[in-house]
């Protein structure tokens, strides 16, 4: 696969790198291990941040700062005079060809611009390079061990080359989420509407059956077709001689029952007939309205469901908190929220997962939702709302229509237990009134019927039965149509849900298998790296639960104990070694177009021995040129012991080491190949009287020259220097040089001229007295420009004490002695 090496980074005005007018330019070698050393606070992490911003367009740690701290305003260097920062990445195609420079700028308003030479799609290249492998630091490794298996699996998916698959898997799960899906389609409301319609249609069916019997004089056969029904009832009416003229040329539903009653009344000519018809209508009205009384047990159940909801509601804190918890859940579930133990509301960090806490709280709200649904469904299924019709009939003038008032909140499932009790009592009252009324109507009807001729009474009764039949047939048809429509909608909705569930499950299984396969592939390499770093009887193991996104870490062997917890047993350095081994193994197998890695301070938990082993693993088993197909590694470190190692390795030809020095206020410069620039800059500052900016550069220049002497004249340096505080580095190096000179002088083997031996003492006195003794104790105010100029001169004179003039004499070409005892 083709890809890109990083040849050079230039930075100006970004993070801790001011360098106004003279960008920090760090040259890198694609065919070597690259290392950059710098003391703390000099700009090493600024280089890391610059590449991070160049590739991703953001620096998460700044964006995550509290709003009051305005993290966005810290992208640019605060001392830079311009209003933008600039990063140039010079990239070399791994397949060969001309290098490409991409320029990324950010202005003070946070606007980002990316440019490249014509014909180069800079955004596409940066997108290709935006891989999890490119920028790794100690924090990343620490997290790998500490994360929960699911979070580890998701964050590590990118390292297995499965980032897009993992993201897609999560998106598919999101769209197949039942709650969101049902909310979108109002599934519960549709189901409730169907239940209500079925109740109403059933009641209409009962009424049709009763009216049919009254009209036709036979039991209604439920399997009878509607045309047959209509024919039967038409025939029943049409067979009454008095009503024949009103039926002719009409269908049953076109016959007007009122006209039929009027005809009977006219035939009788009696007011009593009119009264009877009214009583019959009233009777019908009350009978139908009373058809849906709940049983006593149903009343008790309604109260119990409402009280259960009250009880669930007491465990929550209201709708505002529900919104807060839902929003918190969204934030905590997002990959960008790395620490699930940090509260997104108050930023406090704890030992337990805030997500678990929030989901527990949401669970309480969901209990309320479930209780509400149960209450609403019970209300709808019982068709309690139909009691509103009876209520209208039976209610006294000064009473409130309680069913009418509560039917909406009861259907929504939000009725309280107290209101439910009141309602059930009210329904009992309505029931009593209904029974009383029907009794009264029945008595009145009997009384009138006794006084009227039986034949015409029957005609009026049949006309009223026809009216009920017409009305209920209409209701039944409407409800059946509604049921058909809603059920068809639910079938379509279920088809979509089934598809989404199937798609999500299908892809989850495939992604899980791929991750498992790739995890298995990296495990042997991970073990090889781990063994080469730690050299102990400890074997890391990675596993993945079938079908899940989890990645679990274990130790398959811990000093002969098998299959034990890595988190519980490993010390910090072992945990770090475990994580580094996993990442390097993954990077070596699944690296993408970015053929380079920046590793920032990844060894801080290691002692010097394990640091050495890790560097050997990187050089010999992972990186170019040791592994020709491996990536280009760029190590960033502040560690003095590693700096010594880097210096040693840099003489091997497969390692490129640089040191950077400076301050965020002025500039940061690479020492390698630029010592003259440092010297010139220092002298320029001193000429301008700027002691504050000159002092750190003198240290940089001094240490460079001392290390140059040690390296070139082959002076042995005690290991203890590697562990010394960096501010004592120069005096330690001078002491080492002086000890070696004294030893050779005592042995009579010192090659230095007498004048050079004398010059050493004078130069050291000046350097120590006017600079080191103040610098090491932080007494910068003791410096003066004049004395520091003398120090700069003494540094050069000190170095000249170890040099001789080459042939011909007077050429001015000075070379270092081969050693303290040999000139060449």
């Amino acid at each position: 696969m083709s890809g890109w090496f990083l040849e050079q980074i230039s930075i100006e005005g970004f993070r801790g790198i001011n360098n106004e007018g003279a960008p920090l330019t760090v040259k890198l070698k694609p065919d070597k291990v690259n290392s950059i050393s710098a003391p703390n606070g000099v700009g090493k992490t600024s280089i890391f941040d610059a590449v991070l911003y160049a590739l991703t367009g953001r620096i998460q740690k700044l964006d995550d700062l509290p709003a009051a701290e305005k993290g966005g305003s810290y992208y640019l260097n605060r001392f830079h005079g311009g209003d933008s920062g600039q990063i140039d990445l010079q990239l070399q195609p791994s397949a060969g060809g001309a290098s490409v420079t991409i320029t990324i700028t950010r202005d003070k308003d946070g606007n980002r611009a990316v440019t490249a030479p014509a014909g180069i799609d800079a955004d596409a290249i940066l997108s290709e390079l935006n891989r999890e492998f490119v920028l790794l630091d100690g924090k990343t490794f620490q997290q790998f061990i500490d994360l929960k298996p699911l979070d580890r699996g998701r964050s590590f998916a990118g390292f297995l080359g499965l980032r897009r698959y993992s993201t897609l898997r999560q998106r598919l799960v999101e769209i197949s989420n039942t709650r969101a899906f049902n909310n979108h389609f109002n599934v519960t409301a549709k189901q409730q509407a169907i239940a209500t319609a079925k109740q109403t249609a059933q009641r209409a069916g009962s009424n049709i059956s009763a009216a049919y019997k009254e009209l036709v004089g036979e039991d209604f056969d439920p399997i009878m077709s509607e045309p047959d029904l209509l024919a039967q009832v038409f025939s029943a009416l049409n067979s009454i001689q008095l009503l024949k003229p009103l039926c002719e040329g009409k269908t049953f539903e076109e016959i007007d029952p009122s006209e039929c009653v009027k005809a009977a009344k006219a035939a009788e000519g009696s007011e009593e007939r009119d009264k009877l018809a009214k009583i019959l209508r009233k009777q019908t009205e009350w009978t139908e309205a009373s058809a849906c009384f709940p049983t006593e047990g149903e009343g008790e159940k309604l109260i119990a469901l409402a009280e259960a909801r009250d009880s669930a509601l007491e465990k929550t804190q209201g709708d505002q908190f529900r919104k807060l918890y839902n929003l918190s859940e969204q934030i905590l579930c997002a990959d960008s929220w790395e620490h699930k133990t940090i509260c997104p509301v108050c930023d406090r960090n704890g030992d337990v997962s805030v997500l678990d806490h929030v989901q527990h709280k949401i669970g309480a709200f969901e209990d309320v939702g479930a209780a509400s649904t149960a209450l609403g469904e019970f209300w709808v299924a019982g068709n309690w709302a139909a009691l509103a019709t009876l209520e209208k009939l039976a209610m006294l003038e000064d009473e409130n229509p309680l069913v009418e008032e509560l039917k909406k909140i009861a259907a929504d499932g939000v009725m309280t237990g107290d209101r439910a009790k009141g309602l059930v009592d009210w329904i009992k009252t309505l029931s009593e009134r209904s029974a009383e009324k029907l009794k009264t109507l029945d008595e009145a009807k009997d009384e009138i019927e006794k006084a009227l001729p039986p034949k015409l009474t029957a005609v009026v009764e049949k006309a009223e039965a026809a009216r009920r039949l017409q009305s209920n047939l209409k209701d039944q048809r409407e409800q059946n149509a509604l049921i058909t429509t809603r059920e068809a909608e639910l079938v379509r909705i279920e088809r979509v849900k089934s598809f989404l569930d199937g798609s999500s499950a299908l892809f989850a299984a495939a992604e899980s298998k791929a991750a498992e396969r790739r995890l298995e592939a990296i495990e042997p390499k991970c073990r090889e790296f781990f063994a080469a770093i730690m050299f102990e009887n400890v074997t890391p193991a990675l596993s993945k639960r079938e079908g899940s996104e989890d990645i679990s870490i274990k130790l398959s062997d811990f000093w002969t104990i098998e299959n034990v917890s890595a988190q519980a047993l490993l010390s910090e350095s072992y945990r770090n070694a475990f994580a580094i081994s996993v990442y390097l193994a993954a990077a070596s197998l699944y690296g993408g177009p970015a053929k380079f890695l920046l590793l920032d301070d990844v060894t801080s938990s290691f002692d010097s021995g394990h640091q050495l082993h890790l560097m050997n693993v990187i050089r010999d088993k992972f990186s170019r040129p040791g592994v020709p197909d491996g990536p280009q590694v760029i190590l960033l470190s502040h560690d003095p012991a590693l700096e010594k190692l880097f210096n040693t390795n840099s003489s091997s030809g497969d390692w490129w080491h640089q040191i950077i020095q400076g301050t965020p206020r002025t500039s940061v410069l690479p020492q390698s190949g630029a010592v003259t620039r440092v010297k010139d800059a220092t002298l320029a500052f001193l000429d301008a009287g700027n002691v504050e900016d000159a002092a750190p550069r003198i240290r940089q220049y001094l240490e460079f020259k001392l290390e140059e002497i040690i390296l070139r004249v082959r002076i042995p340096v005690p290991m203890v220097i590697a562990y010394s505080d960096d501010k004592h580095m120069a005096s330690n190096l001078i002491n080492a040089i002086q000890s070696a000179v004294n030893l050779h002088q005592s042995a009579g083997q010192l090659i230095l001229e007498p004048a050079q031996i004398a010059g050493l003492d004078i130069a050291v006195a000046t350097i120590t007295g006017n600079y080191i003794s103040h610098w090491a104790t932080g007494q910068a105010q003791a410096f003066t420009a004049a004395s520091l100029k003398g120090v700069m001169q003494a540094i050069d004179e000190f170095a000249q004490c170890f040099q001789y003039e080459g042939e011909p004499a007077g050429s001015g070409q000075y070379r270092y002695y081969k050693s303290l005892s040999a000139k060449t």
């Binding site: 698959y165 993201t167 897609l168 979108h184 389609f185 598809f499 298998k513 790739r518």
Partner: protein, 72 residues
């Protein structure tokens, strides 16, 4: 709507886009009409683009319309 799509696997030799195209084919085995709606969105979904869920749901629902099925 026969579901014989459990053969789908990510092929390590294919690119991500190639595997997503194969997924689109596998989804057709679950429901061809709905796969036509979802498949073109897989690339964006894998790139972490936010999903307009409501629009997607409506489009999928519209694709279940028997009349529109009859036309296609």
């Amino acid at each position: 709507m026969a579901d014989d799509s459990d053969e789908y696997e990510i092929d390590d030799k294919k690119s991500v886009d190639g595997n997503l195209a194969a997924l689109g084919d596998a989804l057709k085995e679950i429901d061809s009409d709905l796969a036509d709606i979802l498949s073109p969105k897989l690339q964006n979904m894998s790139a972490d683009a936010s999903i307009a869920k409501d629009q997607l749901f409506d489009a999928l629902y519209a694709a279940t319309d028997e009349d529109s099925e009859a036309k296609t």
